[in-house]
Symmetry: C2
Subunit: 364 residues, 2 copies
């Protein structure tokens, strides 16, 4: 039964997205039918309207809203662009074609819709996300970056030509790319009891070679630096749909720490969206205190690192959490950083044999 419920989720969501776009269009037509200038209202994304919500444990938008009215001469251009973006997204979604932000910018010209530059068209897509509550990936607009996953999860494709086909994510030992086909797949079965997200490709490959997925019953996700949005959404689905705890391993520096934080608490840029972050995920290392405890080879923090640490110290996502505050303080005290590869000083498999089990236990 539980399985069954999972299996229709993706197609349900696709239908919801298309309904969302349709209802956006219907509102415009209804206003026209009533003989009024159509107007679009949406929450403001200006900095002063972005607040951290300690209950949701992510950034959200406040009460301020903005409107785009066809009546206002200054609004006519963005109003039209937004209506076009909705129409184009509807085409992509119903025809199951994928696209990129760059592609959207050029595609507009096929409709004699003009954007001054890429930034303007990106903004309009974000407007569409804000109005509808869906992410651009739901409209089949994907970034170029691809990360990967490996482990015992069987997926069932929903993309054209592959509907109903299944694949187990241990099929390819280099890892399976997280692209549009993977993220639109249903989860058909797993024996895993946790997710381990890893910042770097080299370590991801080491984990596969050393059978971490089997030894720890884990799905391994390579984020490839800052995790692309569809990968963050995928991690959230692994957590929500399969009930799996998520552990994150990054480099031991402010940037690695923040890669983990964005997976956990999201970013201010995505305050208008839900389901891109996983509040229950844990940052398992490399902590500043690990650098000390494991006597890791280090590099000095440079000025940019230190400036970043002071910024993060005041960031609402970090502010009230004793773990993160302790780690920031330790970084500032030792003034050193260490990469995940630094564990190789104890041999190539030390990180898998010693460090990982300890940290999984510690952050459980």
């Amino acid at each position: 039964m539980e399985q069954k419920k999972t299996k229709t989720r993706i197609l349900e969501r696709k239908n919801e997205v298309i309904s969302g776009l349709k209802s956006f269009g219907t509102k415009l037509y209804d206003q026209l039918d009533q003989g009024v200038f159509p107007t679009i209202n949406m929450p403001s994304r200006s900095t002063e309207n972005i607040n951290y919500d300690p209950v949701l444990r992510q950034f959200i938008l406040g009460d301020k809203s903005v409107s785009r009215s066809a009546r206002n001469i200054r609004h006519v251009k963005p109003f039209t662009q937004l209506a076009w973006a909705a129409m184009f997204s509807n085409e992509l979604t119903t025809q199951r074609k994928t696209s990129t932000l760059r592609d959207v910018y050029y595609s507009a010209q096929a409709y004699e819709m003009t954007f001054t530059d890429q930034q303007e068209s990106n903004n309009i897509i974000t407007d569409l996300e804000t109005v509808t509550g869906y992410s651009r990936e739901d409209f089949n607009i994907f970034p170029e970056e691809r990360s990967a996953v490996f482990g015992d999860l069987t997926i069932e494709y929903t993309v054209p030509g592959y509907e109903g086909r299944t694949m187990n994510l241990t099929s390819h030992p280099d890892g399976v790319l997280i692209g549009p086909a993977l993220t639109s797949s249903e989860f058909a079965g797993t024996s895993a009891d946790k997710v381990i997200a890893i910042e770097k490709g080299g370590l991801f490959t080491r984990f596969i070679e050393e059978n971490v997925h089997r030894k720890h019953n884990a799905l391994l996700v390579m984020t490839g630096g800052q995790a692309p949005r569809q990968t963050r959404q995928f991690i959230r689905r692994l957590h929500d749909e399969l009930n799996l705890p998520v552990y994150i391993l990054t480099d031991g520096d402010p940037w690695g720490m923040h890669i983990a934080m964005v997976i956990i608490a999201g970013s201010a840029n995505a305050a208008h969206l839900r389901e891109l972050n996983t509040p229950d995920a844990k940052w398992s290392g490399v902590w500043a205190t690990d650098i000390v405890n494991y006597k890791l080879p280090t590099d000095p923090l440079d000025e940019v690192d230190i400036k970043r640490l002071y910024e993060l110290q005041k960031d609402p996502r970090y502010k009230d959490d004793p773990l993160w505050q302790r780690e920031i303080k330790t970084f500032l005290k030792i003034k050193r950083k260490a990469e995940q590869e630094a564990f190789s000083r104890y041999g190539l498999t030390y990180i898998v044999d010693e460090y990982l089990p300890t940290k999984l236990e510690e952050t459980k």
Copy 2:
């Protein structure tokens, strides 16, 4: 019969690599047995010893050589480092473990071997490539970057745990990652009659969605910008072992043009290696003349672009080829550049339906 020959190639090469390392070690021991200070000779990689070979159509090293002698106090450190690197590479290769350049740097500390910095250890690995003639990927030292491939090619894995298992590269519609497991696979069968290498992930996905692999009997390779070395080596294998012509599609700018050139003629940095480039591969577009002929939306060339074009004009890889020279001149004349996505101005599938067939024919 032909099939059979292909199928043992990878394991043969692995054995050759291990023999190469062994013979390097044997030479050192023999010298010690003869009571002389061991010396290592190798071709010099200094700029004045790098020449373009118009027959091989790639850079090669000239006659100058350098030596590292245990007798010379200034040589003792790099000599020892090189001997260690050979020993460590032998461990990786025989134990079938993969690593990264960063990992090698830290692993040295496990052996109390010190490198001043990453650059020093990278250099020593390049020395080892030069001495043995094998690439670091042959020693299982891989870069972090991963690109992808898609199409009807069945591979047979040779990595531990997957030996003898086959996979068809149409299995995952997001594309199959080109990592250590893929590049060490045998080619077991294909119906493809060409390879199309594509610079960008978005277009790669579009090509898969639009069935370019089927319509054109093609294997599609995503380079993800500048193709990682293992991807260039993989393209060469597709060409040599399967006899497939290779076509390359990049952005229409000096950087895209050079991505194609590095796949074709290699780089000066790899002058000590063979089999990383595919001299018969063709750059099919986006040419500067395509920008004009297809009236593509463009951006102006900036100063860096123009400077780069003047550099490339004098580069030996470009110098005597009328096609490349014509395109460089056209870029300098129109002073504009265009991305692959620019074709979307004629609709999302124009590049697949119109541009691609024309250019494949034109560059046959």
